[in-house]
Subunit: 271 residues, 2 copies
Amino acid sequence: MNYNQLRNSIFEKKNFLCVGLDPDYEKIPNSLKIIPLTQFEFCKKIIDAVAPYCIAFKPNTAFFEERGIEGWASLERTIEYIKKNYPNHFTIADAKRGDIGNTAEAYAKTFLKNFNFDSVTISPYMGRDSILPFLKYKGKWSIVLALTSNESADDLETKKLQNSSTNFEEVINFTLKLGTKENTMFVVGATRPNDLKYIRNIIPDHFLLIPGIGAQGGNLMDVVENAWNKDCGILVNASRSIIFASSNDDFAEAAGAEAKKIAIGMSNFFR
Amino acid sequence: MNYNQLRNSIFEKKNFLCVGLDPDYEKIPNSLKIIPLTQFEFCKKIIDAVAPYCIAFKPNTAFFEERGIEGWASLERTIEYIKKNYPNHFTIADAKRGDIGNTAEAYAKTFLKNFNFDSVTISPYMGRDSILPFLKYKGKWSIVLALTSNESADDLETKKLQNSSTNFEEVINFTLKLGTKENTMFVVGATRPNDLKYIRNIIPDHFLLIPGIGAQGGNLMDVVENAWNKDCGILVNASRSIIFASSNDDFAEAAGAEAKKIAIGMSNFFR
């Protein structure tokens, strides 16, 4: 999905919600655990329930990997299911891979070619070598961690360099030399509104993927005030607060209701 | 495997070689591709050939993931095979995962409990939250990226902070607050001998995992001069130069011969 398609999908739907699929096996209702590919079954029901109220899906690889081969099979089925049934939804592999050379190439191939995700999240610690192999895939996106929503982002991300920029700015700056707003986005947490505004000034045109709404406590109004641009320019992610809105057999309905609530809130920001 | 067991294994064998298992499918001899779980079959033959000449194995998750479910199954079989047949070899999941909270917990469980690796590599961009969940597993190790062997390590890792330490020092410093030499190691590339010496001075007692020998051009003598400590303190990794020493059906023999050559060089450093 390219920039204009994403932009148009957002404005047609008056929505910029990304639903994070973190199918923590322990939290999936027991009634689904008698079915093979439990995580896929769970995700499928969530996807169907929330699809009208979001424009993107973000499966988190960790929770699938934790279930071994069956989990990996569930991840394959989940992305296939989205691509087939909701081809206009943007897809993000939340993998936070961060390696170099032929290893990074293997990760890029896994997520952008084999699975055929639109995008993948990348950890930039090792520098531009960890991003370039992903940018070779035309029509695909690299979503680079800049400033995350956790407290220990202060251990490294917000530290000031001698050139007086912070590490997260440094990451943004070297990434800007590699890609454009058509193939790169940045992760910026919702829990730091001032920094969000600061980052929006540095990169007025790029999409930002913004986690931290919901379970992590970030506020939607703050996010919009600080990060909205003429093309919307933000994908706001919520995961647990939606998919585990209920721990009972009504989990899909509850997820749909929760996503709908957020979607209504979002629609108010469009004229 | 704990610190003393690792140390003793090194001194008994007069060896500190880690063999990186990067089973790039394209490079595996065609004769193996008619067998199911090709990557496992390849790794198994390499493992048997090199086991006498190394003290650790480091499967690289990227190359298994690239092959989907079958690759994931090969990774499972590979670690099982090492644990069963070479229980005194140290095992490293080279996964470079870097996430936080319940996601990091899922990754830790995957590699340290389910697969039962002795250790896993971690990307520290998000700070201490990305390391702590791994340290909860007693008897297991977190191997944190500090200074890597690639050129673009200069994009972030070697940048100087206003407190005049570099980012890699910052990573070492916050990690030292979380763990000890009994459960944490650091990745430091062989391609930067001066920095290796500098890091050894900061952390005299920790094991360092040192890639960059072989295909990446680092020199074994330089590494030993700059990083050896009283307990050896270094695991030197070589991957491609060993496992793809031959692209023909004699690949295992060739790998064994290459590992043996390095092992002989290493044995000279022990009295």
